[in-house]
């Protein structure tokens, strides 16, 4: 048994009590280094407790380095989360409490287990969709609207999430969807280990330029544009069940008879664009069935957000203006408007 697995029944500062161990979220990045619990406080509020497991570092061939990496990553994520909490961002899953607790055992210094307590979500958007009997357009669009707000909130703090995917959008009973897991985020204000990764997030969701380690510039702005692509990819998930990357990759390999090999991003860009267009056509087919009048608008948004060429990614009006390319405001408004229309249609029915 690892130290992080010994928290059940433990009382924590702030009147929190650890109730039971939870099964690990099956797709969360870095989940191997943490253990999840259900916790309650004296007011009856139920929460999710993430206990950090530093013992796994000792299984590594270079324990000192591994331990350093784990602690740095933990501190970095915690600092980002506290920044978000300080700004009272509603669309980011922020911690309710954090700290460390001493457990009984013979683990030496590892007896002191670090933890963070978050609000307990109903699940992620995948688990929500799994419960649907029919496609809920209004819910999907509102979730996208909330996700876009979450990203915009992060961007205002100089944080790029870089790992937006269905399992990282958590769903809460009243507040709706929130962006979670800053474990792969980068901050404009301080460096992190993730900054050096060619693909900081999940490879199955990575934007095309990351496949080639190609960057529009050496400053921080390309990282915001990754988030644009990943937000658009969420739309692919709702309407096609896969990520934009999976759709593009499939169409690319289909066109090249399974024999596509990367050369250089700018050289391969026309092929990627062609595969992207095929993917958009599939999206259009699905959206016109599921979203009716809003289908064209949805496809247009995805076309702009997931544009394979990061130099042209985003709203053309913003690109022509003096506003920064990564301004998400227009998408927040557009998602809000089409979500509102879908909700209105739903209430009429």
């Amino acid at each position: 048994m690892r130290p992080a697995e010994c928290l059940q029944g433990v009382d924590l500062p702030g009147n929190w009590h650890v109730v039971s161990i939870l099964t690990k979220p099956n797709t969360s990045t870095g989940g191997k280094f943490s253990v999840g619990y259900k916790a309650v406080n004296d007011k009856g509020q139920t929460a999710y407790l993430k206990a950090l497991d530093f013992s796994s570092a000792f299984q590594s061939p270079d324990p000192a380095r591994a331990l350093q990496q784990l602690t740095t990553a933990f501190n970095f994520e915690r600092d980002l989360l506290l920044k978000c909490k300080g700004r009272r961002f509603k669309r980011i899953v922020t911690p309710l409490a954090d700290g460390s607790v001493n457990i009984n055992g013979s683990y030496g210094p590892l007896n002191n287990v670090m933890y963070i307590i978050f609000e307990l979500a109903d699940g992620d958007i995948r688990s929500q969709i799994a419960q649907w009997h029919s496609f809920d357009l209004a819910w999907a669009l509102r979730s996208l609207h909330h996700s876009a707000i979450g990203l915009q909130q992060l961007h205002t703090l100089g944080i790029a999430h870089q790992d937006i995917k269905p399992s990282n959008i958590l769903v809460f009973p009243i507040e709706g969807s929130k962006v979670a897991d800053l474990g792969r985020a980068s901050s404009i204000h301080c460096e992190s280990e993730v900054d050096s990764f060619p693909i900081p997030g999940d490879a199955g969701y990575a934007p095309p330029e990351q496949w080639y380690s190609w960057k529009i510039s050496n400053d921080f702005s390309p990282r915001y544009l990754y988030d644009f692509y990943l937000l658009g990819s969420l739309v692919f998930f709702f309407f096609l069940g896969c990520s934009a990357t999976q759709a593009i990759e499939t169409n690319l390999l289909k066109a090249h008879n399974k024999q596509f090999d990367q050369t250089d991003f700018l050289h391969d860009l026309p092929y990627i664009q062609s595969a992207f267009i095929e993917s958009l056509e599939a999206l259009k087919t699905s959206a016109s069935k599921l979203a009716g009048n809003s289908a064209d608008e949805i496809v247009m948004i995805v076309k702009q957000l997931c544009e394979p060429d990061p130099r042209r990614r985003g709203d053309p009006k913003v690109l022509r203006s003096r506003r920064p390319q990564h301004d998400l405001q227009s998408y927040i408004s557009r998602f809000d408007r089409i979500a509102f229309l879908a909700e209105k249609r739903m209430t009429r029915q």
Partner: protein, 496 residues
């Protein structure tokens, strides 16, 4: 007489194909030899673990996505996930099923690739592509494909405009550059082709671009900027033999033209290691000029090698097979008149099947029905089937526009046939004489021999007193110029 295209010289000009065909044929693959090392990806292992623990549509898609990302088509677990997705009856999963189907399916067979006539005949293709470029303005591939389809419909101006947009958007891409080079060559602007290729960053590094630059420079007798880098590229063992095949065939042709058959042979041997269909066609052309190589195996192993097969069967006097290959070549390179001309020539001259030749030409694309040689061949067959008025109308139309010496002579010979058939023997005789002198003037002795053969047939038909002399002359010319396609039947037609 029935004419054929000018085949005195051939170079390995890049093929002009639509994106789908070019990618399926492997012309867009990386030039380097592929190293079949499977990338180790930690997130793949994680997805596999998730799939094993929890078999849902989501974990199946994640695993498939990871497998596709690292191109691991042999994973048993991913295969299991693909089958899991396909087993679902839900229609809304149509795209996931496409992904799964793609994962499970074998690579597409390339036999009979690009032989679907129907696709191209329809103007719908242009309409669809116009919509596509309207919607996705910045996609160079759609512009390039649009340019090709405009060329197939004979709209050179529109084809040029579309290709100019494609080159502005994708000037660093091999597919766009090669398509553009062939496009401008086709519409008579080889300087533009050469300029585009020379200015490209790929020139000097990519064997496909180098071969295009050298071939076009050779055609317009300009100095190539890529010869020295091409020789280095051929020595580079990291490049695949397939990617070097057109470049080797191109340099081999230049050496052959310069009289260095020995050097040329070495290049052609290199081209034969893993040839593209275009390189193979070049080898077939060189074999019709000089016996410098063993005849390569043409057992359909090279996809789309229709031109090579048409040439091979023609040289080996398998005329029906040659026509069949030429018809496929015509579908493969729809904007080109050469395959139709070859098929028409073989049908009327070698097989004496004028009715088939008439239907072959009348069923060809409208763009080909404007080609002077094809129209001449149509008139030739119409005259021989007794449709003299129709033939006369066509001949009168084309005779005014012809500027090429070879075409002029061919048409003059056909006019000779026409006058013989309407009974104006003296005018017919003068036309045949003029045509033969014209061919001799441009040193096309082979065509002069064919014209003399048809002249002899007419003299024999009207039982002229000069018939014997004409027959002897025709037989001599056919023998001296190795007109193999007529030699077998010459005694049957003209008598021993």
């Amino acid at each position: 007489m029935s004419g054929t295209f000018n085949d005195t010289y051939r170079q390995v000009f890049p093929r002009w194909l639509d994106y789908k065909s070019a990618s399926l044929l492997g012309l867009l693959h990386i030039a380097e030899i592929k190293k079949n090392i499977l990338t180790v990806n930690p997130s793949y292992n994680e997805s596999e673990e998730n799939w094993i623990k929890n078999k849902t549509i989501f974990t199946a898609v994640d695993l498939l996505g990871e497998a596709l990302f690292i191109k691991n088509y042999s994973s048993k677990k991913a295969l299991e996930a693909a089958k899991y997705i396909l087993s679902h009856q839900n229609d809304s999963l149509f795209f996931l099923k496409e992904i799964a189907k793609h994962y499970i399916e074998d690579e597409k067979s390339l036999n009979n690739i690009c032989t679907n006539k129907e696709n191209y005949f329809e103007r719908k293709q242009v309409h669809r592509l116009r919509q596509l470029v309207h919607e996705y303005t910045l996609n160079p591939i759609a512009w390039s494909d649009l340019s090709l389809f405009h060329a197939i419909l004979g709209n050179h101006k529109k084809s040029r405009e579309a290709m100019l947009v494609a080159t502005k958007l994708g000037k660093g891409n091999r597919f766009i550059l090669r398509s553009a080079a062939r496009c401008f060559l086709h519409i008579g602007e080889p300087d533009v082709s050469l300029d585009l290729l020379k200015r490209s960053d790929l020139c000097g590094f990519d064997p496909w671009i180098n071969s295009a630059e050298i071939a076009i420079a050779d055609k317009i007798e300009r100095k190539s900027y890529c010869i020295s880098s091409a020789k280095n590229l051929l020595k580079d063992n990291n490049l695949s033999p397939f990617s070097k095949s057109e470049l080797a065939a191109c340099l081999g042709t230049i050496e052959f033209k310069n009289g260095s058959n020995k050097k040329g042979k070495l290049y052609f041997k290199e081209a034969l290691l893993d040839p593209s269909e275009n390189a193979l066609a070049q080898i077939q052309w060189i074999l019709s000029r000089a016996n410098i190589l063993n005849n390569p195996d043409l057992s359909n192993t090279i996809p789309a090698s229709y031109e090579a097969q048409a040439r091979y069967h023609f040289r080996n006097e398998n005329f029906s097979e040659s026509i069949s290959a030429a018809e496929k070549w015509a579908c493969f390179q729809q904007f080109s008149s050469m395959p139709i001309i070859l098929a028409s020539y073989i049908t009327s001259v070698c097989l004496d099947d004028d009715n088939k030749n008439i239907s072959l030409i009348k069923e060809s694309l409208p763009i080909h029905q404007k080609n002077h040689t094809i129209l001449n061949n149509l008139s030739f067959s119409l005259i021989r089937t007794g449709k003299l008025d129709e033939a006369k109308q066509i001949l009168d139309c084309i005779v005014q526009d012809v500027s090429d010496d070879n075409e002029k002579n061919v048409i003059t010979a056909t006019q000779g046939l026409y006058f013989y058939r309407i009974g104006e023997i003296q005018t017919g005789l003068e036309n045949y004489q003029k045509a033969i002198r014209g061919f001799e003037k441009i040193k096309d002795y082979r065509s002069a021999a064919i014209a003399s053969y048809y002249w002899a047939i007419e003299e024999k038909r009207i039982q002229s007193k000069n018939a014997a002399e004409r027959i002897a002359d025709a037989k001599k010319r056919l023998k001296n110029n190795n007109v193999f396609e007529l030699q077998k039947k010459v005694n049957l037609v003209l008598g021993p």
